[in-house]
Each structure stands twice: as C-alpha cells, then as structure tokens.
Symmetry: C2
DNA sequence: CTAATTGCAAAAGCTTTGCAGCGCA
DNA sequence: TGCGCTGCAAAGCTTTTGCAATTAG
C-alpha cells in the first residue's frame, strides 16, 4: 500500500485514480505552487483522462481534509501546495515568479500579541512579501 | 473647487460625475472596505445612473493613480479602500466581517530583514490576520 | 450491491472589453 | 470641436454544479 493511499484513506476518501494522481503531482511539485489548471494540464500530459471539474473537486476535498493549502497570491487564480506540518509564510519574486517559504518566530509572536490587544484570537493568517532581487 | 476635483486632476483624470461620486463614496466609507458591487449599489441608492462597468473602470484607474488600494481578502471579490498616506495591515473578523487596520514597526522591520537575508527588496506586502473574538 | 465518484456540459460569479453615443475641457 | 468617458451588452476567466454513467469497497 502506497503512502498516497494511506493519506487518502485517513482523510476518509475513496482511493481513486484521479485522487492518487493529483496527490502525486502535488507531492512532486515541491515548493512549486500549482493552480487547478496546472494540475489539470499535468494530468493530460501524463495521458490521464481526468476532467477539470474533478481536479477542482479533489483539490477542495484535499483542502478540507487538511492535505493541501489553498493560496490566493494574485487575483484570479488560486494555487495549491501540500500541507507540510509547520506553518510558513511566502515571498514571491515579482521578476521570476519564484516562491520562497519562510518562518519567523518574532513576526508570529507579534501577530498573536496584536490580535489579543484588540480582543481577538488568530484563526489563520496570510503574510506574503512581493519582492525583487536586490541591487 | 472641491478636494475631489483636485485629486482627480492631479491624477490626470477628467472630472466626471461617476468619478467624483465614486471618490466621495470611498471617502465616506472610512474603514469599511467596499467591493465594486458595493459601490455600484450605493450609486444606485443615491439615484445615480452609473454602469457597473464604469465602476470597475474607475476603481482600476484610481488604483493605478494610487488613490485607492485593492485587496483580495477572501477569494472571488476584490475590495477597495482609500489610500491613506501610511501603510497598514489588516485584521478581518471571521464572525462579523469587520476589518481592523493596524501597523506594527517590529513586524515591518523583520519583513525587511528577512527579504534582505534572501537577497531581495520588498516591493510590497500583504499581511492579513483572520481572527475571532477572544473567549 | 450501493453509495461515492467522475466527466461532460452548462451555469455561476466577478471582471473586462467592444462599440456607439455623450460630455468635459 | 475633439478626445476622453460612459452605458450597455457581450465576452472572458476561474470555479461550481446538475446529471447520468462508472467504480471502489
């Protein structure tokens, strides 16, 4: 039994070809964040006959199950990445489109403090730096 | 000459009724962030006969001119706010939808440092906390 | 066997665009 | 008067949904 199958079962999802393939694609993508359409095209390139609607449905199911995280970096299209254990933020290079992940305890701590100062608790947050190469 | 007219002229835009009205609506909105549709409905309520397409065009022009800022808090719809002088981040209450603005020098500083550690300069950034009332 | 899943096509938002007419400078 | 601006309608994009056929357990 592959690890993909275990992940799907644990999420309460039937082990179907589209789900296994999409999970593999996302795991292979590494730090690259893929849109639903990116995943769809990759499937087509692999010769798999999966509908775009299924890709959307599966990605949403994965998100609900906590397997993947959905981001809205730029308007219009959402991108997905595998949910690794720890939280992290993103730096997106405006020149190359490259995405760098980072985690800063100081920022995390300040966020929590600021929310509490206003009488709130953070449910989640989004920090994205849009950057260009220095010099 | 009203201040709206001056702002528009300075932005190189002709002073037209839709533009003046939309600018007034945004200025009146205060901390409330409005979608294009919110602005459109407000215009209709005021008895103004302005098309939704015009609202979108004008808001985009205002954004280009630096008069307003466009946010994508939740997927789907963009919201707009007047560009006040200083930068600030947002806290969005998941229960009420209320938006609170804040600014934290420590976080700003760390962001800059982190970008530089990776050889980048921040062009802009987006920090949004999604929160719920404490307790 | 039976409920979950899928593909296709159609629908549903939000936003943009083409075009003829209107209006500011 | 001339070019910019507007309204309307249509098109564009991403994402969702209805439905009959298919498939996993």
């Amino acid at each position: 039994m592959t690890s993909e199958n275990q992940e799907l079962k644990k999420a309460g999802l039937k082990v179907t070809l589209p789900r296994v393939k999409i999970l593999q694609i996302l795991e292979t993508a590494g730090d690259r964040h893929m849109s639903a359409d990116d995943v769809y095209r990759t499937l087509l390139n692999q010769g798999e006959d999966v509908g775009l609607a299924t890709v959307y449905r599966v990605l949403t199911q994965f998100e609900t199950a906590g397997l993947v995280i959905r981001h809205h970096f730029e308007a219009g299209t959402a991108v997905f990445e595998m949910a690794k254990g720890e939280h992290h933020d993103h730096m997106v290079c405006l020149d190359t489109g490259k995405v760098i992940e980072f985690y800063d305890p100081i920022i995390e701590q300040r966020q929590k403090e600021i929310a509490e100062e206003h009488g709130f608790v953070i449910e989640e947050h989004n920090l994205t730096l849009y950057v260009r190469p220095k010099g």
